[in-house]
């Protein structure tokens, strides 16, 4: 099973998904991420899915689950780089990802997290 790497940039954790996601990898990612947020005290999580071309309802739910997990650690989640075909698929599946922030690309996603995190830094 391939594991998705989690990178730390400042107070933000970057998850860049470059592989075809299997259900096992998704579960492992959720576990890893929860541990990592807890360990680093990150205030934001960016999930880059610009390389993901195929999604199913399980992966769609993953975004919402990760967002809920992060929120428990008081971290914001931004999903960036979703492809049009993926967006259409998720809508057709009825997954609107309420509560998950989205951005066109990584740069904009980091900006959003920067704005959200500004209030916290002393």
């Amino acid at each position: 099973m391939e594991r998705v790497p989690i990178l730390k940039i400042g107070g933000v954790l970057l998850v860049s998904i470059q592989i075809d996601l299997q259900d096992q990898s998704v579960l492992a990612l959720q576990e890893d991420l929860a541990e990592k947020i807890c360990a680093t005290g990150a205030h934001g999580v960016v999930i880059d899915i610009s390389a993901v071309e195929i999604v199913d309802s399980f992966i769609g739910r993953m975004f919402a689950t990760i967002a809920s997990i992060s929120r428990l650690f008081d971290a914001d989640t931004v999903v960036v780089g979703m492809r049009p075909a993926v967006a259409i698929t998720l809508v057709e599946l009825g997954l609107t990802l309420g509560g998950v922030r989205t951005a066109l690309d990584l740069e904009r996603g980091m900006k959003i997290l920067g704005q959200l995190g500004r209030g916290r830094d002393f």
Partner: protein
């Protein structure tokens, strides 16, 4: 061209030896039928080709024309029928042109009382009937293709995605919205969002005359998909009657921003981007 010839030879040989006068007569008959919409030279060229392809097939009764020996004939008829469709001829005229050959050939053998010749004539008649039907088939195919091409072109034409400001795209929708069109609009808009890196999209429905629950559903889907990608959609140009319909149908637009006009929507998008538009002061 005497009836005596029919006794000794079969129809195929007879036609081969009389090719020139036959084609001549055939062209005459068809030229009269089409009343000068096709020149004799054109007809003669087409029919000469036909005749050459037809000769080896004489003797076949036309019951099964899917065989390999009909390959040449099929492609010839296909081409001919298509050319006729584009030139605006009716399928009846195309098929009649073919059937005219029947009369011409029968004249050749009309005085013969040889049962052999009669049998061959019947078979030939069946063959031409089958080929005539084939032109109908090709005609319908060509028609379908034209219609499909046109509807595709129309789909492309009516759904432009335009950039009206740095980071702001607009889709002016005109006409009726159905599932197929909304799908195209959705895909084009989302692609354009990625390409241009725009964060705002305005869907202007000033030109849409009817909104029902299905159309609204499609609009909502587009907006949600854009939101998933990280862009904000604004719906503008809702006409008064449509506003009433929407409320009467109980359609909920939820937290989607709606504006009366495209200008309002643009202003809203700019404000979200912290852009101020000010009138320049006269010096």
């Amino acid at each position: 061209m005497t009836a005596d010839a029919g006794h000794a030879q079969n129809l195929s040989d007879l036609m081969r030896t009389n090719a020139e006068p036959l084609i001549e007569k055939w062209v005459d008959a068809v030229a009269a039928l089409l009343r000068g919409r096709s020149t004799r030279t054109e007809l003669e060229r087409d029919f000469r080709e036909f005749f050459a392809a037809l000769l080896p097939l004489v003797g076949h009764d036309g019951r099964d024309i899917s065989g390999r020996e009909f390959g040449d004939m099929r492609s010839l008829l296909d081409e001919y029928s298509r050319a006729r469709v584009r030139a605006g001829f009716t399928p009846t005229e195309t098929a009649s042109s073919l059937f005219s050959l029947k009369r011409v050939v029968f004249e050749l053998t009309e005085n013969s009382d040889d049962p052999q010749v009669y049998r061959q004539q019947t078979a030939f008649s069946g063959l031409l009937d089958a080929l005539g039907l084939l032109t109908f088939e090709f005609y319908a195919q060509a028609r379908d293709e034209i219609i499909r091409e046109q509807s595709e072109q129309l789909l492309e034409l009516t759904t432009p995605v335009v950039k009206i400001w740095e980071g702001v795209l607009a889709v002016p929708l005109v006409g009726t919205l159905d599932s197929a069109r909304t799908q195209v609009v959705m895909e084009k808009l989302l692609e354009a969002l990625v390409e241009t890196g725009s964060e705002h999209a305005i869907i202007d429905i000033t030109g849409v005359f009817a909104v029902d629950t299905q159309v609204a559903q499609h609009l909502l889907k587009t907006v949600v998909a854009a939101r998933l990608m990280g862009a904000e959609c604004i719906v503008s140009g809702i006409r008064p009657q449509i506003a009433q319909t929407i409320v009467a149908l109980g359609i909920e637009f939820g937290d989607i921003v709606t504006k009366a006009s495209l200008a309002d929507a643009l202003r809203h998008a700019l404000r979200r981007d912290d852009v101020d538009v000010v009138r320049s002061q006269a010096l």
